[in-house]
Subunit: 138 residues, 2 copies
């Protein structure tokens, strides 16, 4: 059984790799005039949900702060990337659905994002950043 030091080392590798990729991808997205990755994540989740999603679901899935997410959704709706319908059977709730514009934007963002994922993971492999992770027992 792996002790804590192993887990700590795995965490550091994990965190550094994700931060590097995330940071580069965001820079590239902003430079290209696109929104940031947390907008991307919302578009992606909505695209995979044909019947739409409740804000609460999405917020828990993506681990977003409720109030920040509420405003993010409002901005994304303003930009025409998603729609907010009343939820049938729950007058408090909303159903979020991606729009065609949202789908198109996600694709454009993905073209940039994927390059950085690919390069970043390849780099991590090359520099042995995953060694600590592979050392963990299953």
């Amino acid at each position: 059984m792996s002790g804590f030091d192993e887990r700590e080392a795995a965490w550091i590798a994990l965190n550094q790799t994700r931060t590097r990729i995330f940071s580069r991808a965001e820079r590239a997205l902003v430079a290209a005039g696109f929104p940031r990755l947390h907008w991307y994540d919302v578009l992606w989740e909505l695209e995979r949900a044909p019947d739409g999603l409740r804000p609460k679901q999405l917020e828990q899935q993506l681990l977003f702060d409720q109030s920040s997410f509420s405003r993010q959704v409002a901005r994304m709706a303003e930009d025409g990337l998603l729609t907010r319908h009343a939820a049938t059977g729950d007058a408090r709730g909303k159903i979020l659905r991606i729009t065609d514009k949202g789908r198109a934007l996600r694709l454009q963002m993905w073209d940039i994002y994927r390059v950085h994922i690919d390069e970043g993971i390849a780099e991590a492999q090359k520099t042995g950043a995953f060694a600590a992770l592979k050392r963990l027992d299953d």
Copy 2:
């Protein structure tokens, strides 16, 4: 050689695991009245640098935005967690050094942080989140 789909799967696992751990740890830190993890990271880097560090170095290492970091350092200095000396030999620059108060705070934060790293990595192992990572060639 692993294709892109493998790398993409590895990224998703990586990102989800890190987000889960990060988010839980931050919640716990805030609940305990402590600063967030990007403060922790600065304290940790400074603690490992006996001669101190230039803001520029730190900012590049941690991939922070320059202007945000400049203000973060100011706040941390106000709180007495670090000091800003003039850099010898470069009148533009500063040297950041951790204080005893900063060291003490880092330890307290670590007590909380480590629990979430440990639990989160263990959980990721158990649920097979690292399978995609282990599948990558070296």
